[in-house]
Symmetry: C2
Subunit: 426 residues, 2 copies
Amino acid sequence: MPHNSLPSSELYRDEVTKRPVSPASAPRALNPASTFDRLCLRSLARALRGVPLRIAFGDTIEAVASAAPPVATVRVHDRPTLARLVTSPDLGFGEGYMDGRLDVDGDLVALLEQVYRHQLESPRRARPVDWLRRWRNSNPVTRARNNVRRHYDLGNDFYRLWLDREMVYTCAYFANPDMTLEEAQAAKLEHVARKLNLRAGETVFEAGCGWGSLSLYLARHYGVRVRAWNVSREQIIWARARAAAEGLADQVEFIEDDYRRIRGTCDAFVSVGMLEHVGRRQYPMLGEVIDRCLHPSHGRGLLHFIGRNTPAATSAWISKYIFPGAYIPSLRESLSGVLEPRGLSILDVENLRRHYAATLAEWLARFENAADEVRAMFDERFVRMWRLYLAGSQAGFLSGSLQLFQVTFARRSNNEMPLTRRALYQ
Amino acid sequence: MPHNSLPSSELYRDEVTKRPVSPASAPRALNPASTFDRLCLRSLARALRGVPLRIAFGDTIEAVASAAPPVATVRVHDRPTLARLVTSPDLGFGEGYMDGRLDVDGDLVALLEQVYRHQLESPRRARPVDWLRRWRNSNPVTRARNNVRRHYDLGNDFYRLWLDREMVYTCAYFANPDMTLEEAQAAKLEHVARKLNLRAGETVFEAGCGWGSLSLYLARHYGVRVRAWNVSREQIIWARARAAAEGLADQVEFIEDDYRRIRGTCDAFVSVGMLEHVGRRQYPMLGEVIDRCLHPSHGRGLLHFIGRNTPAATSAWISKYIFPGAYIPSLRESLSGVLEPRGLSILDVENLRRHYAATLAEWLARFENAADEVRAMFDERFVRMWRLYLAGSQAGFLSGSLQLFQVTFARRSNNEMPLTRRALYQ
């Protein structure tokens, strides 16, 4: 599940600025530009120096942050929003955009990519509120369940509008660049399966199984038994129905529960797109679960997750509106928290960052095509929120602010995995 | 360059126990076995409980550590050596073996593999002398040079006896299992080259270039310019002669200097088998060197090094006799020290542990074939020392006590690397 990084000053594009927004959030009438407005604009331009964008306040004044031709213009419609962009750029931009208090003319993704690159070049210092963030990241079982449900229980009908047919809500794998999203998601499932080196009759545990596409794929194509855990009720119901419809209900068991309650023994442990929701403080617990379940000699597994090159705080806007409790680790953090304390061997790490950018471009295009339906299900604010999330995520992967790691691991004593990775590419 | 882990109690095989050892280290005459001897044997058997070995003290008494059939018998020839195995198993075993005060009947590698597996299952606590080890690991330039020279300047004639024709003294890559060592070393050079995604005319920096085989390969097959650093004079002389003989002297420059003094800009940075000698405290410095040299947008690189699943101290015997100043990091330690602070993207990690076991098996066999020549160059003690080092290293990789990581990285903003790894396997 994509997270954008939304660091200190997000600026996005809006291709549909002419769409009406709800009356409650309509742009306010502007007073003539004041010295205060000019100071705010100048401050924003300074903070974003070198980024090819234009910031406009109403029709009256504007500033540019770079001599290069701007990829987009951010139009701020009222003074409080302008001031908030200066004092609280992350939430200020995200909420301003959602509420239609600002718009973006031009290429939203390209603008965000530029902003993220700029921020990576000029990182901020750690803030004293880190302890608060750590506490938020502690994710006890009940809060974790609520966090996950808030996102994944938005309704299967909503996700069907813009995901692929198999409902895979994680990074696809474009084994060749001409693939459709459908093909690339199937290729991802196959890629993961091959990395696990499965034999028919083995048992696979999946933690955080989404709508069940990977579990069903492994059962269908590799003849394994799968037990899969997820706390999202809507997803579990859907997954069970699919298993029944395919005659795989005996082979795949979907369990509505937290990963911490996984019990039993498996030959392979897989988790795709869950680590982001686990929270740093729970990494040792996830490691304990893997260690407890994994076959002591030939056990192996795969973690697929969004990561970063260096640790950074989750965007306040993402935490508030998209993924409460989420944390995106660096590769080192994932190793140090989950796998290394358990003495597991890292066999393979693959970075699929640009595959996620391509996946998100597809999702965003499908989402825009379905925007009217989404608006009918929710409202305009939701459409703008979701657009910002998808566009920001795509920009995150394009800029290198976000990474996508697939980590294959095995018991130390497992000498049975293929000697080379050639079989992944045959 | 292989390091074995030689943890607390090493026990090795010797296929040639009948060879005479030098008079100074000949077995002493034994007194009849005493209660003390029995206590020592019992203590050793207890420490190694479950390991299928037999420990014999002279012809009189012996102990077994497991009910399983022993893979080898350790024969201890004198009382001080027996006592030292209890009090200081690492150095005690290594020095006892070198001096012919103990021998191993049976399969030395298999025995060591069992001992390492046993130790991994029952790890010791960290010792209070860690600060001393850390200090030893600080490796200032002069000490680093002396450390490296002590090993690599043993004489090219010595290494020619048991390395491949290209003199590659790092893990080979058995792209298929029928390869000879020569083929597998060539396959390794090609594998590394492909991971670097080189274009003709680009500049590659190599830190710690050994006898120059990789630098020459890249120049010859990929048309790049290479600058390569090494503090071993013997190796540099050899490498320069090869470059001249091949007409590559204009394209490849071999520089006798420390990696810390690397200056200039490169498109790709590669280091194969050097990180083990750098020492933990110098990792940030290595990261600084890479960051300083690497092209700011399309730069990429590869680190190839021996690693561990979890951090552990270097064997006292290895530090004293084989690789002074060496430290073998976990993957996390390498990331946290070198790459992550520089914001570099990890693109690919491949674990080639079992390839190193196969490489070492070849080296050990060739070394045994050349043992008479080695003895003529040095002495019997050296032969036994080197056999122990090679056998222990092979056992380390077989048991999972040692890993071999190839880490490919790139600048965050590099969006030009291949989208998949398929090209590595064509």
